[in-house]
Structures are given as C-alpha cells and as structure tokens.
C-alpha cells in the first residue's frame, strides 16, 4: 500500500547561469495519514527546498510527489504552508488574513456566515480570537505564527507543511506554541510535515524524525521512530528513557556522523 503522501526519488538542482548546484539527491519518504513527521538537518542542507517541492512552490528536477496517489506539481490549499517568517499580509487584519484563505478555499461551498464562523473558529483554535481586529504589525512574533497557523488550518489541508515555524521565537513562546501545535494535532489528526533544527522540538512533537545529510546532494540519512505515547507532556518527558534515547540518536546523527561543515 502506498503512503498518504509520497516523496518518490526526488532530485533537485538549481541552475544559476552555467553553474548547477545539486541540492537534493534521491529523496524518498512516505508519510501516513495523521502522522507528524519532522525533518531535521543542518542549515543549508535543503530542508526548505524539500518542503517547497511538496508545497508545489518549486518544481522537481527528477522524481515526483504523490498525495493520495495523485501527482502534485503546483501549489494548492490542500498543502497549506506555515512559513518561517509568518508571511501575513500586513495590510489586512488578523481576521482578514485568515478570512482571505477561507473565502478562497470555501467560496462555492459555504455561505458567508459559515465562512465567518469558520474564520473565528480557527482563530479560537490558536487562541488569537481576541486580536482579530489587529494588524500583523501590532502583534508579537509568536502571535503572528499563531495566525499563520490558523490561516493554514482554516484551509483544511490534507497535509500541513511547517517550515521552521518557531525558529525566530524565544524559548518560552516557542514552548507555548509547541504545546498548541501538539494539542491541535491531537484534536484534528492532521498530517504534518515540519522542518526544524531543534532536536528537543523534533522529539517532542514527532511520530517520526527524518534526518538529512549535509548538502550538496543531500538525502535522507536516517529515519527515527519516536514511540512515545500521546498526549505528551514536556515536563514528564525530560526524564523519560525513550525520550532521552531518541534525543541521543538525533544528536549523534547531527553532531558525530554528519557534523556541520562550514564553507562549501
């Protein structure tokens, strides 16, 4: 049986003038429905490139991405993205940012008031309903990411793609948001693919951790199952042996076997 989302022997190279850089080489990965998969790897190895390929924002050089056995090669709301830098439209309010997505995705299928309700519902899900009339410039970085998440969730995507969603946040805000994401995933059972460079975050949130080798021509070095029961609580986990073992494995991969090489 083929998995829900399948990245099938994907190669990706960029051409700049006559120079060609091979970023991804033969990346194959299956993600099951409802699964939470993290992709971890050193900076510049091609994580964003891989996520953008799944999102359809970048074309593959070779290979294919299949979602429910259908090839996807252009962007669409069935693969909603939460971008690293939130990407909210600054001229729209928090509500309107989410509403724009809701209106576009459900235009023919839901009435005006249903779309209004759905917008509010998603803002409540990320605890941002109180700021619905503010503009992005008036809210904090963590709040912006929450709104970005609400916008993505509101599209009812088949796969939720998160590109280092908490990368730019301080540790406390980050922990808060991780808890929110866990709770939402628990509640809605989304299929999630998340990029991170934070080992604790990867172990805490994921069912599986995909570790990428360094570029150029990065590929999947190892896939680690995280057999921790859900719901997970960060305080209890810090002394859990499975948690510590998984954490150790990822650290070994990143810092011993594939330690980051400067330059290149």
């Amino acid at each position: 049986m083929t998995p829900y989302l399948k990245i099938d022997h994907v190669d990706k190279s960029f051409h700049r003038g006559s120079r060609e850089t091979e970023v991804l080489k033969d990346v194959t990965l299956g993600v099951e429905r409802g699964e939470f998969v993290s992709i971890i790897g050193h900076s510049g190895c091609g994580k964003s490139t891989l996520l953008n390929i799944v999102a359809g924002l970048l074309p593959v050089t070779k290979g294919a991405v299949l979602l429910e056995n259908q090839e996807v090669n252009e962007p669409g709301p069935d693969r909603a993205v939460v971008f690293q830098n939130h990407s909210l439209l600054p001229w729209l309010t928090v509500y309107d940012n989410v509403r724009l997505a809701v209106d576009k995705v459900f235009s023919g299928r839901r009435s005006r008031s249903e779309r209004h309700e759905w917008t509010l519902h998603n803002l409540e899900l990320v605890q941002m309903a109180h700021a619905k009339d503010k503009r992005p410039s008036e809210i904090s970085g963590g709040m912006k990411q929450r709104v970005g998440l609400a916008r993505a969730l509101a599209m009812e995507p088949k796969v939720l793609l998160l590109d280092e969603p908490f990368g730019a946040l301080d540790a406390l805000t980050r922990a808060h948001l991780q808890d929110s994401v866990m709770a939402i995933h628990q509640k809605l059972g989304n299929t999630v693919m998340m990029i991170t460079h934070d080992v604790d975050e990867a172990v805490l949130l994921s069912d599986r951790i995909v570790m990428m080798t360094n570029g150029p021509a990065a590929h999947i070095g190892e896939v680690l199952d995280v057999p921790l029961a859900r719901p997970r609580r960060r305080l209890e986990l810090s002394s859990n042996s499975i948690y510590l073992r998984c954490r150790q494995r990822v650290l070994e991969f990143l810092y011993e076997r594939h330690s980051f090489v400067e330059a290149a």
């Binding site: 924002l57 252009e74 669409g76 709301p77 909603a80 439209l89 001229w91 724009l100 503009r135």
Partner: protein, 299 residues
C-alpha cells in the same frame, strides 16, 4: 519713511507673541485639565514658534535688503501696501479679470486635477505593466529617468506642436511633467512584491485578477503613493508653464500677466499662494496615502 515704522513694528511683534505664549502656558497649570492640556499646548507651541521666529527674521532681512535705494525687488512693506487687496481677500470679484487669488487658484487646481488625474491613472497602469517584466523595466527605466528631468517649459513647444490647441496642451504639460515618478515608483513597487506574498497567493491559488487586487496593489501601495506624492508636487510646478499658453484666470497666467505689466508685488503674493497650495496638496496626498496603506507606508 517706512523704515522707522517697521523697525518699531517687527521687534515689537515677536516678543509680544512670545510672552503671550508663555503666559498662556503657565496659566492653566493648577487646573485639572492642565495636566493634559499643558503638554499638548507645549508641543503645539514647540512646533509653531520656531517657524514663526524664522519667518519674522526672514521678513526683517528681506526688508533691510530691499529697502535700500537701488533695490530691484520690493520690500515686504511695499508688497503689503500695494497688493493689500490680494493678500486680505482671496475671494473678491471686482470684474471679469479682477478677481481674488483664491478664485485663480481654484481655476488652476481644476486644470491640475485633470492633468494629474490622468497622470495618476495612466502612470499606475503603465507602472503595473512595466513592473511585471524585468525586460520592460530594464529597457524603459533609463528612458524614463532621462524624460523625467525635462522641465515643464521644455515640453511646451512639443505639446503645442502636437495638439495645436492651448487647452489640451496645457493639460498635457501638467500630465507629462508628473507622470514619470508615478510610473517609476509603481513599477518598482510591483517588482518588489516579496516572494512570501507570491507564495501565499500561490498556495491559495489566487487567479490573476485576485492577485492584482488583493496582493499586488496593496503591496505596491506605499511605493505608488510615494510616486503620487512626488507627482502632485511636479504637476503643481507645471502650472505656470501650462497657463502661459492658455491665458484666462489661472494663478499661473496671473504671474505671467503681472510680469508683463510689471506688477512685482502681485507676483510675490501669487508666489506665496502657489507655495502654500503646493504644500497643502502634498500634505493631502500624503494623508490619503497614510490612510490607504494603514500607516504601513514606505518602510
């Protein structure tokens, strides 16, 4: 003769105003409203007093320079006495050609409204088209950069040759003077739409029309308004040149006419009107820009 009168007058005005302000500020201190009113008044005073002081100083220097025998330009006192009616009442009507400068400004503003309105519409459309294509941008930008330096006066003969009629030529001169910064800034704004917004649009599958209205225009709006603001200044600059053609009752033609009949004080008053109206126009466009872009403008 006027010398002692003025010397007695100007120094007397400035200190009087200053002391009046000091009294006004210190008086409401004990009151309840004082706590809130005081800082507001203080900041208003801080903004109003320095320009008043410099203005007074300028007038004094001007008076001293132009009051000497052999001076070619009239001093402020002479302007005040000779152009008194023009200064005091902008909206008098004493005959078909003898009307207040307010009326003349309004006539000129109509002309500018047409020329600038066209420049705005066409500039934004052209800028949007050019901004779509890197090649159009690279090919046309140098041409625009050259054309935008051409003065309104220089466009006059070309304009007349093309239209063979003074009215459309005048409008064209205003249009052609102000359209370049609008085109250039719009194009730059369109080119600079962040990839993030394009990605959002792509994920949402916005069609071309939706992309235009919901992403492109709002994202480029701060740039567009910068262009519009430069444009309004330029189109108002072109009014004198434009009305040298048309004659009639505009403020631009008034200056040309006053020059031909050597009424220098009238010209000075008209210049003050033009300057003030230009300033107000600039502020209006800036304010509209601020409103329309919700203060996200130009960062």
């Amino acid at each position: 003769m006027t010398m002692p009168a003025l010397k007695a007058e100007t120094p007397a005005v400035a200190p009087a105003r200053l002391t009046a302000d000091v009294v006004k500020l210190s008086a409401p201190k004990p009151g309840f409203v004082g706590a809130r009113l005081m800082p507001a008044l203080k900041s208003a005073a801080a903004r109003i007093i320095p320009p008043l002081v410099t203005l007074t100083l300028l007038l004094v220097v001007w008076q001293l320079l132009c009051n000497r025998p052999g001076a070619t330009l009239p001093p402020p006192t002479k302007i005040w006495s000779e152009a008194y009616d023009l200064i005091i009442d902008p909206f008098f009507v004493a005959g078909p050609q003898d009307i207040g400068l307010g009326w003349r400004v309004l006539t000129s503003l109509q002309r500018v409204a047409i020329g600038y309105g066209l420049a705005g519409i066409i500039g934004i459309i052209l800028g949007t088209l050019i901004g779509q294509s890197m090649w159009a941008m690279r090919g046309l930008d140098p041409i625009f950069q050259v054309l935008r330096t051409i003065s309104p006066l220089a466009w006059l003969p070309i304009s007349l040759a093309a239209f063979r009629d003074s009215q459309p030529s005048a409008i064209f001169v205003i249009f052609i003077t102000s359209v370049w910064p609008i085109i250039i800034n719009t194009a730059v704004g369109i080119r600079n739409i962040p990839q993030d917004y394009r990605n959002v649009a792509a994920v949402l599958r916005l069609n071309h029309l939706e992309f235009f209205w919901k992403i492109m225009i709002p994202s480029a709006a701060p740039y567009i308004f910068t262009g519009l603001r430069i444009g309004i200044g330029l189109s108002w600059l072109a009014i004198v040149a434009a009305e040298m053609l048309t004659g009639g009752v505009g403020i631009g033609f008034f200056i040309w006419d006053a020059w031909n009949s050597s009424r220098i004080p009238d010209i000075v008053v008209a210049l003050a009107y033009i300057g003030l109206v230009g300033f107000v126009l600039d502020r209006i466009v800036a304010a509209i820009g601020n409103l329309a872009t919700h203060g996200t403008a130009a960062n």
